[in-house]
């Protein structure tokens, strides 16, 4: 990355493993880039203040609220969104655990919750309930279905361990 970016510049990063090269502006948020330019509508926008976490994506495996991350920040980084979790039409362990445990009602928070769970389990494959609650409390489920989400994270951890992931 150069020492200075002009208001309009060319951005390069990987999105779900695929290289992306695109012209954008410094004021463009990552959420807008993903949704409007990359057709990434799985990334939801709600509070737009980095509070609710519906827009959570993984930037170099760190969960970030993409509504409050400027797109230029991901230059050279690996970005993962919920669209990148499914392979050949098969849900990931975390996605399957959320589906099987009915860990959603309206579903608006689900993508962010799933990516948060992916980040948690990458760091701690066997988290205790206190750790799960600490992580999940980063994001808001306005349907308040937290117990089912908690059970889904436990289940996802179990599935990943059993699959050796």
């Amino acid at each position: 990355m150069p020492d200075r970016l002009d208001p309009r510049f060319d951005l390069s990063f990987t999105l779900n493993g695929a290289p992306v090269d695109t012209a954008t502006t410094t004021a463009t948020t990552l959420a807008d880039l993903l949704r409007d330019r990359r057709d990434g509508r799985g990334t939801k926008l709600a509070c737009e203040r980095a509070v609710c976490g519906a827009c959570t994506v993984l930037v170099d495996d760190v969960p970030r609220a993409s509504c409050s991350v400027f797109a230029f920040e991901v230059e050279g980084s690996a970005v993962r969104t919920v669209e990148g979790l499914t392979h050949d039409g098969e849900l990931s362990s975390v996605q399957a655990a959320f589906a099987d445990n009915s860990a959603f009602q309206c579903g608006f928070c689900t993508a962010g919750m799933i990516l948060l769970t992916e980040a948690l389990l990458a760091r701690d494959p066997d988290p205790d309930d206190a750790t799960i609650r600490d992580w999940i409390s980063s994001n808001i489920c306005r349907c308040t279905g937290y117990n089912l989400i908690l059970e889904a994270v436990r289940d996802a951890a179990r599935r990943k361990r059993e699959a050796g992931q």
Binding site: M1, R4, T28, D32, E48, G53, R64, D134
Partner: protein, 281 residues
């Protein structure tokens, strides 16, 4: 003195932000030069607050992105001082061995924000956001800490209170936070009544071997206020009551008036003193 912060002007959307140039300095000196020379510079680190701040009217002429300033990351001992780089994330700080030089600090630090914020939000950003609900100022005030700024005019040390007063030099860059390590310095941080009130208690031993203490109370809407403790007498309730006699009468939050904060703060302080073994119940 303790006026409740007024809501700012809210833009319709962060999409109203006009594009701006971004400078990526490699060193602190380059960052200081960029702050001095750029048009309406805004330093940018963890990125937790800027979009929201812009919606509330903060102008951005040039963004000085501090990502490459590794010299401002991490916690280390410098003689008798705990030195915290301004770009240290909350997660890094809470996990650092050096922060353990102040018992209670890693645990308190680990409670700042949710994990998504702790992984990217920085100590310096928390302080400079000047949000009353943010907590680094509370901890730093209790521990008698200071903040170091660098600018084209030189370096300056400010207390947390001076930061609230925006007393830093123009176009200055926060570089480090420092906590002088008094003998037996330790911290007790109580968030059980949050958001109504939060209280930090620092205890240490002075050069003459005397026990010293400072309590800092804050609320969602009021900047922190420090209360010096007289620990003679060893009666937690009496010490707390005496300390709270100094609480300003105008320290009153819309959610909890001065009288409630006075009573609740004193009760929490008594509990903290007992928990730390500084007084008996």
């Amino acid at each position: 003195m303790y006026e409740v912060a007024q809501a700012g002007l809210i833009a319709a959307s962060y999409r109203d932000i006009l594009p701006f140039p971004v400078i990526l300095p490699e060193t602190v000196n380059e960052a200081v030069a960029a702050m001095a020379d750029a048009e309406a510079p805004v330093p940018y680190a963890g990125g937790t607050d800027l979009c929201g701040a812009v919606r509330e009217g903060k102008p951005v002429g040039t963004l000085v992105w501090l990502k490459r300033l590794d010299e401002l990351r991490g916690v280390r001992m410098e003689g008798g001082t705990l030195s915290i780089g301004a770009l240290t994330t909350h997660a890094e700080g809470a996990a650092s061995d050096a922060a353990g030089a102040v018992p209670g600090l890693p645990d308190a630090w680990s409670k700042l924000g949710k994990i998504r914020i702790r992984l990217s939000g920085t100590a310096g950003g928390n302080l400079m956001a000047r949000h009353t609900r943010y907590e680094m100022s509370i901890l730093l005030t209790a521990l008698g800490g200071a903040a170091q700024f660098a600018s084209a005019e030189g370096e300056a040390d400010l207390s947390p209170g001076e930061i609230w007063d925006r007393a830093e030099p123009a176009r200055a860059l926060l570089t480090r936070l420092s906590i002088p390590l008094a003998a037996d310095l330790r911290l007790d941080y109580d968030r059980t009544l949050r958001p109504l009130m939060t209280q930090a208690l620092a205890l240490w031993t002075d050069g003459a071997g005397g026990a010293q203490g400072r309590a800092v109370i804050a609320t969602e809407n009021l900047r922190p206020v420090a209360l010096d403790l007289d620990l003679t007498g060893n009666d937690a309730k009496a010490i707390s009551a005496a300390a709270y006699d100094a609480l300003p009468d105008d320290f009153a939050d819309p959610a909890s008036g001065n009288e409630w904060l006075h009573r609740a703060g004193a009760a929490v302080l008594a509990r903290q003193l007992v928990r730390q073994g500084a007084a008996r119940a």
